[in-house]
């Protein structure tokens, strides 16, 4: 069975790129463009990995990360945070997120990180 990965990213092109890369490696990616739709539809299935962009049109990705990491039902799920703001690296380090990807990223580094989080 394919591993499910939820991606919370507002830019359509970037989410398309990520969906392509994940599908190529045999994952099943669900894309959400904002926090609202993620909250509405994202809870229907529990993913193996959550990838979240920090700057979202309706909120901060760090808040979603913290919410999932404090919920006993979801806190075991690895979370990767992404941003074009390199400065978030330090906020991510202080959070319970499992990793940080700085944009623009190298696709090999990105896929390595995904694989590492999924224990592949």
């Amino acid at each position: 069975m394919k591993k499910a990965i939820h991606v919370l990213e507002d830019d359509a092109d970037i989410s398309e790129l990520i969906a392509f890369l994940l599908a190529e490696s045999g994952y099943e990616a669900s894309i959400f463009n904002n926090i609202a739709s993620f909250k509405q539809h994202g809870g229907k299935s529990v993913p193996a990995l959550l990838i979240i962009d920090i700057m979202l049109p309706d909120g901060n990705g760090l808040d979603i990360c913290n919410a999932w990491k404090t919920d006993p039902a979801t806190k075991h799920i690895p979370i990767l945070l992404m941003s074009a703001y390199d400065d978030y690296r330090h906020d991510v380090r202080a959070s319970k997120a499992n990793g940080f990807i700085s944009k623009p990223f190298d696709i090999e580094v990105f896929m390595d990180e995904v694989g590492r989080q999924l224990g592949a």
Binding site: D11, L17, Y85, H90, K103, D106
Partner: protein, 665 residues
């Protein structure tokens, strides 16, 4: 042979006549010259022929009015014709060489017993020297009398012997009142020893010049005077007294005091101007201004109300206050309706004077609101509006006085000038706020723009990397690699711009951690091994303790920047050397290239913003790398520098302390 008595007498008279020092001559009954003596010849300057010339031997004659007199109407001619001749008539005799003498003439006719005219004699008294002396004397005494200065003489016993009109005007005594009195009459009791000194000097024959002292007038007033005292001598050269010239210098002294006062004011204005031009901290400027202005205005309390924007950008009314030259409260915000201040200046454009504060409770309340019960009792107040260049009331200064005498002399022009300076300060503060606000917007914009630019960069990089994995021909691969390299350049340029905007905003943040600098250097050098086709990077002295507390990413940025520069500016070389050094207190990194090197002037400027070495058009970039590196190293409490020689390569180095000071963490 014996002579008769008459013969002897005749001889004696003749001799007396000829040898007399007084000029004289004789005429026959027709008026022709019969005889004249040497004195007459000397007076005339000629020797007229006997029996040929009539009336007189003069070359020419003038009246005392300077009009020519013909010889026919000369006193002698008139006397012999029986016309009237004045006793002691004065004429002017001119010699052939043009010399003129003033002469008194005494013509006398000689008649026999029958009254028949036998002849005449004339005596000429030369009074030229006497007349000149007299004129000189009149002139001198006129000078003395008309002088504005007091001219006084005294004898060696200190008794006044003469007194001019100037002396009367300055000291108040008339000549009759003071001549014969001791000079001490004019000297204040505490200065009597001065006179002993002066007399001593005079007796020694010395002069005293422009000696400034104090003298007493008749009315008992003490006035400042300048004295010049000279010894007076008699014809034998003995000192018999002294002449004194005294000048009243009250006005001069007052002028000097005024000048000094103005100079002090100018100095204050200058100091205020200096503070305004050198400081940007508005409350500090206003406090300095009100402190010095209150002192200058000799006020007991000074207040300066002004509007500035607070950190939230709201306009607030602030006040700076000073009490008797001592600031007693820091500048602070006041919760006052500035309608009260507006009302004071509503009817007037200019300074408002409140002679009686009892009648101006609204003004008094300003003092009470600011200074409170500490305020001395303010009886008078000077209020000066501060208007912006467009005429808006943007503040006001209030000077409170407990006494009226200083209040009335306060220099309003000065206050106006200072109010103008304060207005400039407040205008500047407003401009600065606007500039800061704009700068903040600019930095926010750069942050936003760089984020937005990175989003397409992310996808383009992804697309190119996906293409790179596909099977494409050699040419396609070549340009794909180039495209990816250009992408990295765009990315680093955006990062630099973002860093600069952060430095300007003071928001370049650091995250310190403890790590091994040598490991970091090795990691970086390894990536250069992959990316640089032209240069090999050698690392020296890698063994040792290079543990530091620093921002790993920022230090990495610095090292990458130095190595990238070393490669970029040594196109003809093939190696770059990195040397590490450590001491108990700090660690340092040197990056040594074999490139073109830098001149002294280039070395001075290389760390400044947007600086690029000339003649390196192919060396692209924003010229921000070293500026950023310097900022990063200095924020670590470290030092960055360069040693270089043109044509022989450069060594860039930096050192950072092992531990960060507490306040930086």
């Amino acid at each position: 042979m014996s002579s008769t008595r008459a013969e002897i007498d005749n001889r004696l008279f003749r001799d007396l006549f000829l040898a007399s020092p007084v000029a004289g001559y004789l005429c026959d009954k027709e008026g022709y010259l019969l005889a004249y003596n040497d004195a007459a010849a000397a007076l005339w300057g000629r020797r007229p022929e006997i029996g040929k010339e009539q009336w007189c031997g003069s070359f020419a004659i003038y009246g005392t009015d300077g009009q020519p007199v013909s010889l026919d109407t000369c006193p002698m001619a008139r006397a012999m014709r029986g016309m009237e001749v004045k006793e002691r008539e004065e004429i002017i005799v001119e010699t052939p060489d043009g010399r003129r003498r003033n002469v008194l003439v005494y013509p006398r006719t000689i008649k026999n017993h029958e009254g028949e005219l036998l002849g005449a004699h004339n005596t000429l008294i030369d009074i030229t020297d006497y007349k000149r002396q007299e004129e000189k004397h009149v002139m001198l005494s006129e000078i003395v009398q008309s002088s504005d200065d007091a001219i006084v003489s005294k004898n060696l016993n200190g008794i006044i012997t003469s007194w001019n009109a100037g002396a009367q005007r300055i000291f108040g005594y008339t000549e009759d009142e003071i001549v014969g009195k001791p000079i001490n009459t004019l000297i204040p009791p505490y200065l009597t020893s001065e006179e002993i000194m002066i007399i001593g000097e005079i007796k020694e024959g010395r002069k005293i010049d422009h000696y400034q002292t104090i003298r007493l007038t008749k009315s008992g007033k003490e006035i400042p005077i300048s004295l010049t005292i000279s010894p007076m001598r008699n014809k034998q050269g003995q000192i018999i007294g002294a002449s004194k010239i005294a000048r009243d210098i009250s006005e001069k002294v007052q002028r000097e005091q005024t000048i000094q006062f103005h100079a002090q004011k100018l100095e204050t204005l200058h100091a205020i101007g200096k503070v305004i031009s050198e400081k940007l901290d508005t409350p500090a400027i206003i406090q300095t201004v009100i402190d010095s202005t209150t002192h200058l205005a000799a006020a007991n309390v000074g207040l300066c109300f002004y509007r500035v924007s607070d950190e939230q950008g709201n306009s607030v009314l602030s006040v700076a206050a000073t009490r008797q030259g001592e600031r007693f409260k820091e500048s602070r915000d006041v919760y006052l309706d500035d309608g009260a201040i507006h009302a004071i200046f509503s009817g007037s454009e200019d300074i408002v004077k409140f002679e009686d504060m009892c009648k101006a409770p609204h003004v008094l309340s300003l003092f009470e609101a600011t200074v409170g019960i500490k305020s001395p009792r303010i009886r008078h107040c000077l209020a000066i509006p501060i208007r912006s260049s467009d005429g808006l009331l943007i503040g006001a200064m209030f000077f409170g006085y407990t006494q009226s005498d200083v209040f009335s002399t306060a220099d309003e022009d000065m206050m106006r000038s200072i109010a103008l300076l304060v207005a400039v300060t407040l205008d500047n503060a407003r401009l600065l706020e606007q500039v800061n606000a704009l700068n903040l917007k600019k930095n926010e914009f750069i942050a936003l723009a760089s984020h937005e630019l990175k989003t397409p960069l992310t996808t383009v990089k992804g697309y190119l990397q996906i293409l790179e994995r596909a099977e494409i021909d050699r040419i396609g691969r070549r340009f794909l690699t180039k495209a990816l390299k250009q992408l990295e350049r765009i990315n680093s340029l955006i990062a630099e711009l973002l860093d600069i905007s952060k430095i300007e905003a003071g928001k370049l943040s650091f995250h310190f951690e403890t790590f091994d600098l040598s490991e970091l250097v090795l990691d970086i050098v390894e990536t250069f091994h992959f990316s640089s086709q032209t240069h090999t990077i050698f690392v020296n002295n890698i063994h040792g303790d290079y543990t530091v507390e620093a921002d790993r990413q920022r230090i990495e940025q610095v090292i990458i920047n130095l190595i990238t520069n070393a490669i970029k500016y040594s196109p003809d070389a093939n190696k770059v050397t990195v040397t590490l050094e450590s001491s108990p207190a700090e660690v340092s990194v040197q990056v040594i290239d074999e490139g073109m090197g830098l001149s002294r002037e280039q070395q001075d400027r290389v760390f400044t913003r947007f600086y690029q070495v000339e003649g390196t058009s192919k060396m692209t970039g924003l010229g921000l790398g070293l500026y950023l590196s310097k900022e990063i190293v200095e924020r670590h409490g470290g030092h960055i520098g360069v040693n270089s020689q043109l044509g022989k390569g450069s060594t860039f180095y930096f050192s950072i302390p092992r531990k960060q000071a507490e306040s930086d963490l």
